[in-house]
Point group: C2
Chain length 216, copies 2
């Protein structure tokens, strides 16, 4: 089975004041961890970057492509660079440097065992409410019924291509598979696999690298 990974690093990082995936973390950039983790299980790697970085050398990737205006558009740009004979495609956020190669293997195994899509999830530890608005005062959801979704997400390549036809917008790729009625399998993610959204998250990731020893 030919496996390709798309690492999405095209975000503008508007909440962070700059593209967080290029910040230093330990001795590397944030995105280098994502590339290394993906490489452990993928035959080929497509890195999706902001258009102004598309000419930058990224020797760890097999292809570098310019992203689109949205995350979904960026995944499609990456998918266009994945060879037609790829059977499994893994999609990962460059801003999750602590996923670990092992989690890629778990996601890949779930797709090989028949899932259309496999996504790592963790329990939701905070109480979650809906925002008030339009006369709705907001309400508390039952967190026992909720999970928080991480990447890497894995897909049968033909399914991922099919759900992206028509240029849909989704929060993530698994939600597009949901909408299409595909079989989404949940696997156990882990708490350290946090997305770096703001400066505090980068501090946390740095602390975790020190505490656990940088494996790279």
């Amino acid at each position: 089975v030919s496996v390709w990974a798309i690492v999405v690093a095209a975000g503008s990082g508007s909440r962070f004041g700059g593209p967080k995936q290029y910040e230093a973390l330990g001795t590397h950039r944030v995105l280098d961890y994502a590339l290394a983790d993906a490489r452990a299980h993928a035959d080929g790697l497509v890195l999706v970057v902001a258009p102004e970085r598309a000419a930058d050398a990224e020797p760890a990737a097999d292809a570098v492509v310019a992203g689109g205006a949205t995350r979904s558009a960026s995944v499609r740009a990456g998918l266009a660079a994945v060879p037609a004979d790829a059977e499994v495609v893994l999609v990962h956020d460059a801003a999750r440097p602590l996923a670990g190669a092992e989690l890629f293997g778990v996601v890949l195994a779930a797709v090989r065992e028949g899932a259309d899509a496999a996504v790592p999830v963790v329990p939701v530890t905070d109480t979650i409410r809906t925002r008030p608005g339009g006369g709705d005062p907001g309400r508390t959801l039952d967190r026992a019924t909720l999970v928080a979704v991480q990447t890497p997400q894995g897909f049968r390549a033909e399914v991922l291509r099919a759900v992206h036809a028509g240029d849909p917008e989704g929060t993530d790729d698994a939600s597009l598979v949901d909408d299409a009625g595909g079989r989404v399998v949940l696997v156990d993610g882990h708490a350290a696999n946090r997305k770096i959204t703001e400066a505090l998250d980068l501090e946390i990731a740095a602390a975790l690298l020190v505490a656990h020893g940088d494996p790279r």
Copy 2:
């Protein structure tokens, strides 16, 4: 206005392998940070602990009471020790050591300005799905419509007493006020005010204390 705070430290910490609020964090126990933050804005402090700890000396609290079988029951045990003339009651999780005294002030101000309840919230950064079950495959929620709820939560004392009559169970106290049709006001929490649920969270809190300087 007489302000009392209830700091809830009665949890068994089943996910952590022990009561996390008694773990060391910097030079103090986790719960000492919560007590110090609450003290900055409260005239009196009730600490709710597990029954086997109810005889322990806790000089930072004005009263120590034994908690109940659930979080809501523990809040009621604390509320029973709050003087009848208290006008505002703040409820805080002992497992949130990095709330900061300033946030207590913001919550208190919202209650003074007329809210039945005031709760700090932060944006949800992860994609959230419902768990599959009972034939339901699960679905992705729109995270833009969601917020994550923190403590301290502040209440008009008469409202908090009223919603706890009848021994209801709620994820948090604000959700009881929701259910009663009360006016819940959301204020800005902050990302560092994380709940310590597992060992990783304690490592993160320790790292943040070092990075920002222990204010105590």
